[in-house]
Amino acid sequence: MFHFTVMKIHEFQAKRLLADYGVQVPEGRVVRTAAEAFDVAARFGGTVAVKAQIHAGGRGKGGGIKIAKTPEEAEKYAAALLGSQLITPQTGPEGREVRVLLVEKGLNIKREFYLGIVIDRSVGKPVVMASSEGGVEIEEVAKRSPEKILKEHIDPAVGFQPYQIRKLAFGLGLNPRQVSTLMVKLYQAFEDLDCSLAEINPLVETQEGDVLALDAKINFDDNALFRHQAVAELRDFSEEEPLEIRASRFGLNYIKLDGNVGCMVNGAGLAMATMDIIKLAGGNPANFLDVGGGASVEQVKNAFKILVADPNVKAVLINIFGGIMRCDTVAEGVVKAVQDVGVALPVVVRLEGTNVERGKEILSSSRMNFIVADGMGDAAKKVVAAAG
């Protein structure tokens, strides 16, 4: 079964993975209660960082990272964070519930850097990016002063070469000896684990001259999860939308959005185009849903149930261009779903392609109130009108 979201993991999980590869990270413990936070802070002694573990970025700005000078302070911050809805620039207004904290030993930070690896699709190679502007959003640096981002493209056949590491290290004003191991290990993890992003921001140099990953973010290529069972097990379902999890179990590609027009489409491109045309007609799509190229009656039925389980949905648009997928299969699935769930919502159906006549026949002989549309433009107008 495919998972369709980009798989993310928590900071503490990313740091464990990187530490296993030999990347130096601060000493830290995962805690789930305020009392544990007190104990860990007491054991570490001195200043600690209390960090909320949620999948969204921008935690610092949202108040999810606190510096505690005493165990009492650590306990107080932990009590306030645990169970709260943390709102950051990336969570949306509803925020994310904080269930887990990472408590880390404080460091004597001298300088902060950025280090990240992504795939540069325009040249077909991974690219290692580094900047002396650490701790801030790299997108901002890229916009403001692109010359401050150093880049090295990696030939996947030969890997990350020592001369490239030297270029980056000297460019950052570091001695290559300080960062060589860390860079080699980070790239090794990126390649071994099929990451789509491995980012250390900030990478810090301490007064003592050590270089460590103060934060870590790793995303994985879903298509490669089949060969990384241990990584797949790090998936935290509580961070994901329940309807999306349900959809992924049926092999459906569903993403929940904010509008009120539910849509079911075959093919990702056509599904995006359908969302676009709903918007152009003055409506708002409630979701992205691609039932795929060869869905069965059962899958169409499940897809429809997931659509209407979203309470915001006021009308449904089914847009199918049957190629491999036959229109009669879609029609049968929809009729079954409506019978099963007893949906009272208006359903606009646009069918085209293979077995379109049989499909239309099934819909009309069902004696249900389907609104039949002719072409995408007509379908969008009708469904937006129906959603009110």
Binding site: F2, F4, T5, V6, Q90, I119, R121, S122, G124, K125, P126, I138, E139, A142, D155, P156, A157, E191, D194, S196, D221, D222, N223, A224, F226, R227, N253, I255, L257, V265, N266, G267, A268, G269, L270, A271, M272, A273, T274, M275, D276, I277, I278, K279, L280, P285, F288, D290, G293, F321, G322, G323, I324, E352, G353, T354, G375, M376, G377, A380
Partner: protein, 288 residues
């Protein structure tokens, strides 16, 4: 004339004995494609639906003179299948498989450079020159032989575009689904360059998606080196950043690859950009 596939195409199917391979090989042959061989390791010597099966691509090429390969093997083995065809010197390789790990494709892509094979895909519907040759999973019957080229990152949205053309009796010279993955073999620019040279193509429909910068690069190419009218559409105008919209390549990451950016660039470069996917047919009609 059309581009890349025509009546001279001699097709070999990698993964011919699998469910998908069997089904789509049948439909391609029904359409008139000359399927000369299949490859399934370990099943060499058998005859599958009347087509000889070989253990290796090299053998199939040598025995049957195949000049094009189509790949229907599952994602964990697809990169190897592409490399096997490259090694056997197959000039055109069409990879339908969806879900190949990006790192596998990185290695394939880099290793193929300078070797003389063209890869279309992966994660694509394939390529069709209507009335001549169909390679892939697109429904043959919505196409009509004619003089408009179609290049698209998506599958069913391509059928939608083609359907709009055919219903206006505007035929197509060749329709290429270049694929929805971040790393693909043939891009917009390669296809545009071939359409520029093709005397039987008068205009081109270019269908892009959010994510990456392929459309922007193609727009610049069109401005500098493409003489025929182009109608363009970008899917995902309403897609939120950071969410992957089905295709592995369709993701707005780090604020880059939005539909608005792409459409602005395309307009600036002289492409007839339409906002509604329902207007593809009428837009082509107006530029012809």
């Amino acid at each position: 004339m059309a581009i890349w596939v025509d009546r001279e195409t001699r097709l070999l199917v990698q993964g011919i004995t699998g469910r998908e391979g069997t089904f789509h090989t049948g439909l391609c042959r029904e359409y008139g494609t000359n399927v000369v061989a299949g490859v399934t390791p370990g099943k060499g010597g058998m005859v599958h639906d009347g087509i000889p099966v070989y253990n290796t691509v090299a053998e199939a090429v040598k025995q049957e003179g195949a000049n094009t390969s189509v790949i229907f093997v599952p994602p964990p083995f697809a990169a190897d299948a592409v490399l096997e065809s490259v090694d056997a010197g197959v000039p055109l390789i069409v990879c339908i498989t969806e879900g190949i790990p990006v790192f596998d494709m990185l290695k394939v892509w880099n290793s193929m450079q300078g070797k003389g094979s063209r890869l279309i895909g992966p994660n694509c519907p394939g390529i069709i020159s209507p009335g001549k040759c169909k390679i892939g999973i697109m429904p043959g019957h919505v196409h009509l032989e004619g003089r408009v080229g179609v290049i698209s990152r998506s599958g069913t949205l391509t059928y939608e575009a083609v359907g709009q053309l055919t219903s206006r009796e505007i035929g197509q010279s060749t329709c290429i689904g270049i694929g929805g993955d971040p790393i693909i073999g043939t891009g917009f620019i390669d296809a545009l360059a071939a359409f520029e040279k093709d005397e039987e193509t008068d205009a081109v429909v270019m269908i892009g998606e959010i994510g990456g910068s392929a459309e922007e690069e193609a727009a610049e190419y069109i401005q500098s080196s493409f003489s025929k009218p182009v109608v363009g559409f970008i899917a995902g105008q309403t897609a939120p950043p950071g969410r992957r919209m089905g295709h592995a390549g369709a993701i707005i990451s780090q604020g880059k690859g939005t539909a608005a950016e792409k459409m602005a660039k395309m307009r600036e470069c002289g492409i007839h950009v339409i906002e509604s996917p329902a207007d593809i047919g009428s837009a082509i009609e107006s530029v012809l």
